[in-house]
Structure formats: C-alpha cells, structure tokens
Symmetry: C2
Subunit: 409 residues, 2 copies
C-alpha cells in the first residue's frame, strides 16, 4: 500500500526543518557546534531541580502526578503574571495559559487564527519554528525588512496595506539575527496595529537575557497603555518560556492574551494534549519561587555576556574583512553575512569537515534571499571552544573567499 496517498494534502508542504537534521550531524563530540539554540547545560541548576522534584513529589505527589487543568497550574500562572506585570500594567493570572513549550504556543495560535491563504507579516529572516507552525495553512507571508533597530516601519506600513491577519515579531534579540526593536519602533508598531483587525504575536523567549543596553517595554504593555487599559485587552499575544532561562527539557512556556483569545486557545489546547505536564509545572514553580529564578537569570546573563563578547572579539580578530555580522545586546544568536557569491549551505558541508557547525540562513528567509547568511549560537559552547570554532570558520572562509564553495562541487 502506498501510504503517501493517505496523508492529508496539507502535509505536502511540510519538510523536516534542516536545523534538526543538522543537529544530528553535529552530535559527534569533536564538532564545535554553533548550530543549535541550546542553553549551556552546565548552568542548569541541577541541585535545586533535584531537591524541588523530590519535594514536590513527596509532599504533593497526588496532585503533581495527576491530570490537571488545561489552563495550567494556578501558582505558576500567578508567578508568570506577577513577573510580567509592571506598576501600570497588571496581568491577571486568568490571562496566562501554560503551554508545552512556546513552540506549542505558536502552533495553537496558528491553529485558531489562520485560515488557508491568510496573510501574515514576518520579519525577514524570521524564526523557523513559526514558519513550521504556520506552513500547514499556506499563509501568504508578507516579509518586512529589519535593520539594527528591528522592523523597518516603512516596510511594515506597506505590508499592512495588504490587510494581514497576523503580525509576528521576536522583538528582543531576534532569532536568527540578534537584533532588538527600538523603543521608537515599538511605539510606531503599536500605533500602526492597535486599531486594526489583526493580532500581533510578541514572541519573547530571550527578553530577560540582556547583556548590554537597556530593557525595552513589552509590546503588550505598550498596547495597553495606548488603550488606557490597565490589563490585557488588546490584540497583542505575548509568548514566553522557561526554555532559555531555566531548562528546555521542562517543555513549559506561556501565552498571555485577552480573555477571548485565551478562551479559544484553551479549547484547542485541550484537544491538542489536554494539558502540559503537571509534574514539570510543579517542579518549575518550586525551582523558580522565592527569587531563585531572578538570581539564576542574573548568573546566566554574566556567563552568556562573556560568551557573546568572546565571540564578537573572535569574529573581529579572525574573520575576513568582507564578512559582516550583527552585534546583539542579548539572547543566544547573531547572524553573519557573507559576500553574495558564497552559499552558506555549501559552506556548511565544508565546515563539517573542519568539525565546526552553524545554521545556514536561507531557511529563515522568505523567498530566495539570505543564502549568503548563517546563524551562530554563542550560549552553548565554552569560551575557549568559541574562539577555536571561530578560528576554524575563519580559516575556511579565507579559503572560500579565494575559491568559492560552488567550485568544490
């Protein structure tokens, strides 16, 4: 029997993300990988986790191991709401939905908002996980340009003319570029969108990992201010996650949105997985409480700041002059741009021979652009490995810029 015939038509447009395929190739221990988006595992607070898990199971096992509400664990929703609230902007825990990693958040949002061929605005390049989540609905992507201050508002204005259903942005230390939306641009974005029949997805996995510059207000709080609202009422859907600030293996993220949207998301989440793991929610809460999460994030910032600086220094020192890159103020990534004739996919094949890996930028782009870019992660490797990896890449690049990769094929 040919099973291909049985699969729903919408599957034809899906393919495994090349990132995960590459991650498999880079599993060899001798490879220095800048490819993944992995937090540094040596920074996981394992002792605190072990104690929290044992305590939660021993003292509340009958709840922590049982089915639980689709909306999430009450105390955890309260903790999340509290951390995101400001003196002028109060988030009610009822506006927080716990999800199985923020990837599930993106998936659920696409499922409730996207009909076939709907238009959505995305930064170009944009986060691959959102492209994966939205592709089944064959959206028409409206790519907007970005510079060092994030979305270029003129290009957003053009895109909005096409009446999109959704605007998707990673405003802080964007994946893959590492750029951050400036305060002025945030104001402009809210000004352009708050009154329209669309939703703005504010995907913020990295916002707390800032190493220089100053914190930016969230779009969801600015939208509320614009409306004169003290709570969540508008058309911004905010996503956060424990993956980068605590541990991705928990698979715990959250969505903050207005009542009507949360209500729809709860319905669809219920049919998607009933609820996220009760146990990891209890453990995440127990680990985070009493200020531990804040002090842990402080520690992450110190270590990751050093790694970012080490990578930026190494790029400056070793990379050829024809190559440029973004200088992120936080997050896990930066993006490198090669001269136009160099194809980053071809380069990756050769980089693996040098035991160093990255993610080519093409997949993050809408259309045929970005083939001469690649993304580097600086959170996972230790500083000496970062320097060594950049040196290997630099040696390869110097060779390639004399004899372009295409010539090796």
């Amino acid at each position: 029997m040919n099973f291909e015939n049985l699969f729903a038509e919408r599957m034809s447009v899906m393919k495994r993300s090349s990132i995960r395929e590459i991650l498999k190739l880079t599993a060899r221990p001798e490879v220095i990988s800048f490819a993944g988006g992995l937090p540094a595992p040596e920074l996981f607070p394992t002792e605190r986790f072990a104690e929290a898990a044992a305590k939660v199971i021993t003292e509340q096992g009958q709840q922590a191991l049982q089915y639980s509400p689709t909306e999430g664990m009450a105390e955890l929703r309260e903790l999340i709401a509290g951390r995101l609230s400001t003196p002028d902007f109060h988030i009610d825990p009822a506006n927080v939905l716990m999800v199985t990693g923020s990837q599930q958040g993106l998936d659920l949002i696409c499922r409730i908002f996207l009909n076939d061929s709907d238009k959505m605005v995305v930064e170009n390049p944009t986060y691959l996980g959102m492209l994966m989540a939205s592709r089944p609905y064959h959206p028409r992507y409206l790519p907007v340009e970005t510079d060092d201050d994030g979305i270029v508002i003129d290009t957003l204005d053009d895109a909005l003319e096409a009446r999109p259903k959704m605007v998707y942005t990673v405003p802080n230390f964007q994946n893959p570029q590492g750029v951050t939306l400036s305060t002025e641009r945030r104001e402009q974005l809210i000004d352009r969108t708050y009154n329209r029949s669309l939703v703005v997805i504010e995907d913020n996995p990295y916002g707390e990992l800032r190493y220089s510059g100053s914190d930016q207000p969230s779009l969801i709080s600015m939208d509320a201010a614009k409306r004169g609202a003290s709570g969540v009422e508008g058309n911004i859907i905010y996503l956060g996650t424990f993956s980068k600030i605590l541990a991705p293996g928990l698979r715990i993220g959250w969505i903050v949105a207005n009542d009507a949207i949360i209500d729809k998301l709860v319905q669809i989440k219920q049919s998607a997985d009933l609820h996220s793991s009760t146990l990891t929610q209890y453990i995440a809460y127990e680990v985070s409480r009493d200020g531990f999460l804040e002090s842990h994030i402080g520690k992450l910032r110190e270590v990751y700041r050093q790694r970012r600086d080490v990578m930026l220094d190494a790029l400056e020192t070793y990379f050829p002059a024809e190559v440029t890159w973004r200088k992120p103020e936080g997050g896990l990534f930066l993006m490198v741009t090669l001269p136009e004739q160099v194809d980053a996919y071809d380069l990756l094949q050769r980089a693996l021979e040098y035991d160093v890996a990255f993610v080519p930028g093409g997949d993050f782009h809408i259309g045929k652009s970005g083939w001469n870019t690649f993304r580097l992660n600086f959170s996972n490797a230790q500083p000496d490995m970062i320097v060594e990896g950049v040196k290997r890449l630099a040696a390869l690049l110097k060779e390639e810029l004399v004899t372009p990769a295409a010539a090796h094929k």
Copy 2:
C-alpha cells in the same frame, strides 16, 4: 474590536468538552465523583518517583533538562517497543514515537490524515477526546454499533462501503462503554481492513488493566501476522500511554506505526511542540525499569478489580430494575442505560444536588442518541465511597423514574 471575527473558521465547530466543565463543578470535596477518568492518586508510587526524579536530575541533569529528539528518549522507546513485542511480532524502537499524552497522538494523527469532510468510522459511543481532535476537520463520522463483544461487524461492513479514511477503535475496555472486542471480531476487523486504503487507529490506554477474562492480542500484531510480517508494516496505528498505568501528570504516551507514518508524525510533532518533556521521559524510564512497571500494574489490577466488583455489586443491589449497565473486564469505566424517557443531563443537575457526579453519555454519541446513558468511573473513588455514591444515585433514580427529570425544570 470583535475578536470573534479573527478566529479561523474551523473553530466555530469546537466547544469545550462538557466533561471538563463538569469536573470543575465536582471539585467540591463533598461530591463523590464518578465523572472523571482519573487514576487513584493514592496508588501513585510517589516514593519511587521521588527517588527516580532526584537520581535522573543528579546523574544526568545536563541531558534530562535539555532539548531532546522529537522522536523521544531512546531508552524509553526501546522499553515500550520491548513491552509490546511478542515472540512472533517484533517492534523496532524506530517505530515508536513518544508523544505528549496519547491525546497528542490522536491530534497528530488527525492532523496528518484528515482532510476536510473525510469519512471516519467510530464506535458509537466513542472516546470524546477523539471527537475533539477530529472535529476541526469536519469529518463525516460513520458510527458503528457495539455490543458486549465490541464492534458489530455487519455495521462495520456497511460503514466500509462508504470508503472511510480512518477506522477508530478502543478495543479494550472501551471508553465510555467498558466493552472489549472479542478475538473473533478482531480477526474479522483485520480481515476487512488490512487490504484497504485506510488506517485503523488502535487506541489502547487501558489494555493492561484487565481484571477478569483473558488478554486479547493487539490489532497491530494480528495485522502483521495476516501480512506475514514480523514487524510493523501495515495500516494499524497503535496508541499507548503511561497515564493509566503510571501517572497522567507525566503527559507521556506513544504511537506505534510503520516507518512512513512515523516519519510524517515526527514532522508534524516537531512543529506542534518540538518534543515531549525530556525530564518526564527520563523519570518515566527510571521509574519503569527493572520490572517495576509490571509489578506496579499488578498492584493496580488488584485494587481496581476490587473497585469494579464493588461498583457492580452496588449497582446490582441498589439500582432500579429498569436500569441496565455493561460489565467490563477491565479499564476504568462502565456505562449505564436508563429508560428512554430519562435525560442523563437533567439527571446530572439533580445528582449534583445529591453530591454525586457522572458524565452523561450524549456527548460520546454520534447523532442524537445516548441521551439516556451515562458513564461511571470506578478507579478514582475508594470502595466505601463507591457504595455511598451508587446509593445516592439509586435514591435519585428511584425518584426520577416516578417523576421524570424533565418535570422538574
């Protein structure tokens, strides 16, 4: 802004399952609830869990808290494959996909197989979670009748004439009815389906919880035998879960299917939540290993057998003669049929006044049938509470059968 206008059209057919709404009503401690499908929390092996969690995090924290493959933890897939294999039927771990509870399994299966208005065969009544997962695709349900031996094959033959894409069955101790598909009917089902262009979903959350009678072979193994295959090659998709045999709060289930189907499921799961919790997979493996899971299931069987027997005895003793019920050989549920004039929804409103709860059967049914049925769970309440709850229901029923519920409105 009216957010309703923004939601994708497919949402219009969804509604929150009344089961979860009822569960909220029954949270009052004085209510004896036969409504949920909750395992007995006092049987969770919390000590073993606490040790396993602490051990896994202390010894393998850098892996257990990190991102992990979409397919699932290798050792756990191997354990699942081993437990389901028989001397004649070998399941390769590559044919096992770990999912975020078997509800996610149903959701992913619907996502890859169902196009709008596809036909699917379901037992009538059937599992509500599958109705929730499939409804967004507006399938045409082809209900088949069931009796004490499960699906009535004549009605299956009729349904297959309509060329369905999918046949969905819970062959063991079906939810909501508690009935089990007999060996002969299994053979007939395989005979009718193995050669057709459709998939059979064998949803088996309760199969290991048998309290009397003898174990039935899995459909997936029978299908392989029919094909002369020693492994998973055919069109059966098998689902299992730790929810009933270990702990639902883990949110760990599994799908067993042929290579082509697993490959598609991995793609869609990746965009749905990247992967299921690494941590709960590690913990589930550590708890289950070295034969613990088998001895734990043995203990569950003893306790649940007693509860089933207590409930059946109490029904026999206290329920009016006009009321009938199924006698399940395992699982968590049985179904009660009232005289036709009694509406189980109306009855539930009054039952809550008596501090006892159940789930009306209407929602499990296709079409307008089953309004005079309700489902009782016997795994969650302790024996004395089971007797007390049945007594309360019996008192109410005796009253209702004199003055039907509708008259109270």
